[in-house]
């Protein structure tokens, strides 16, 4: 089976490493980073030459501190 293409911005992505630490966070990686990265909000910003905010999630929402 052919491996899906990975996002070219993985080496510079601030959020990608976080998806490696806890097993359930790999869902983000599978949904966005490996294959359908064109849907990722971080990918879209990077393609425009902008640096995505560290708190921007692939689905376009911003991470918020949990109180």
């Amino acid at each position: 089976m052919e491996r899906p293409e990975a996002c070219p911005h993985v080496p510079s992505c601030d959020l990608y490493p976080q998806f490696q630490f806890a097993s359930n966070l790999a869902m983000w990686r599978e949904r966005y980073c490996n294959g359908r990265f064109a849907n990722c909000a971080r990918f879209k910003l990077s393609e425009q030459g902008e640096r995505p905010p560290a708190a921007l999630l692939p689905n376009g929402t911003l991470l918020k501190k949990v109180k």
Binding site: P11, S12, A22, N24, R51
Partner: protein, 184 residues
């Protein structure tokens, strides 16, 4: 100027890249680490405290619950605290170690013979040249979406065509400029 032999440099870069991956689960890329450090400093100066690793994990767990409807299990491993700062300090420490072990360490010296021949012996001019070079490197790095380590080590090892092109541009230009300055 004396350097480590090429094979020792290659082994050291491999070790650093692998350690970086296993400790941080992150591809080795110097410019993105420096960017993260600058972003962190900018946020602190603006009075916005960046999220700690624990706060980030809690926020990611909540976002994952919203997106996928699952609870996130606690991570078995975590990146070391202040790893961006440690990384940049490590680059300086590594350079010092290499200079000491090859006997080429000179306190106060910021440039080699070729540099002085091309840009003179004035400290002000040398510092201005280094600053201008740094700005140009930073500009090129942003334009190329990565630096020599990100594209040359991490990108090439992932067989990324864009990284291959960027690496050819980096090293082709460096070799051409070096030959040009050497002939000057």
């Amino acid at each position: 100027m004396r350097y480590w032999p090429w094979w020792l440099g290659g082994l050291a870069l491999t070790a650093v890249s692998l350690a970086h991956w296993f400790l941080l689960r992150r591809m080795f890329a110097v410019s993105s680490r420096v960017n993260a450090l600058v972003d962190d400093a900018r946020a602190r100066l603006a009075g916005e405290a960046p999220m700690s690793q624990d706060e980030l994990e809690a926020a990611l767990a909540a976002a994952t619950r919203d997106e996928f409807g699952v609870d996130v299990q606690p991570a078995a491993a975590k990146p070391p605290a202040r790893h961006d700062l440690l990384f940049v300090l490590g680059i300086m420490g590594g350079g010092l170690l290499a200079a000491l072990t090859t006997g080429s360490f000179r306190p106060g010296g910021i440039s080699g013979e070729l540099f002085q021949r091309c840009f003179g012996r004035s400290l002000d001019l040398q510092l201005a040249t280094l600053l201008a070079g740094g700005v140009l490197v930073g500009f090129g790095t942003r334009m190329a979406g990565g630096c020599t380590s990100g594209h040359g080590l991490s990108g090439l090892s992932r067989l990324q065509p864009g990284s291959a092109l960027a690496t050819v541009a980096f090293f082709g230009t460096a070799a051409a400029v070096s030959l040009l300055l050497g002939a000057w």
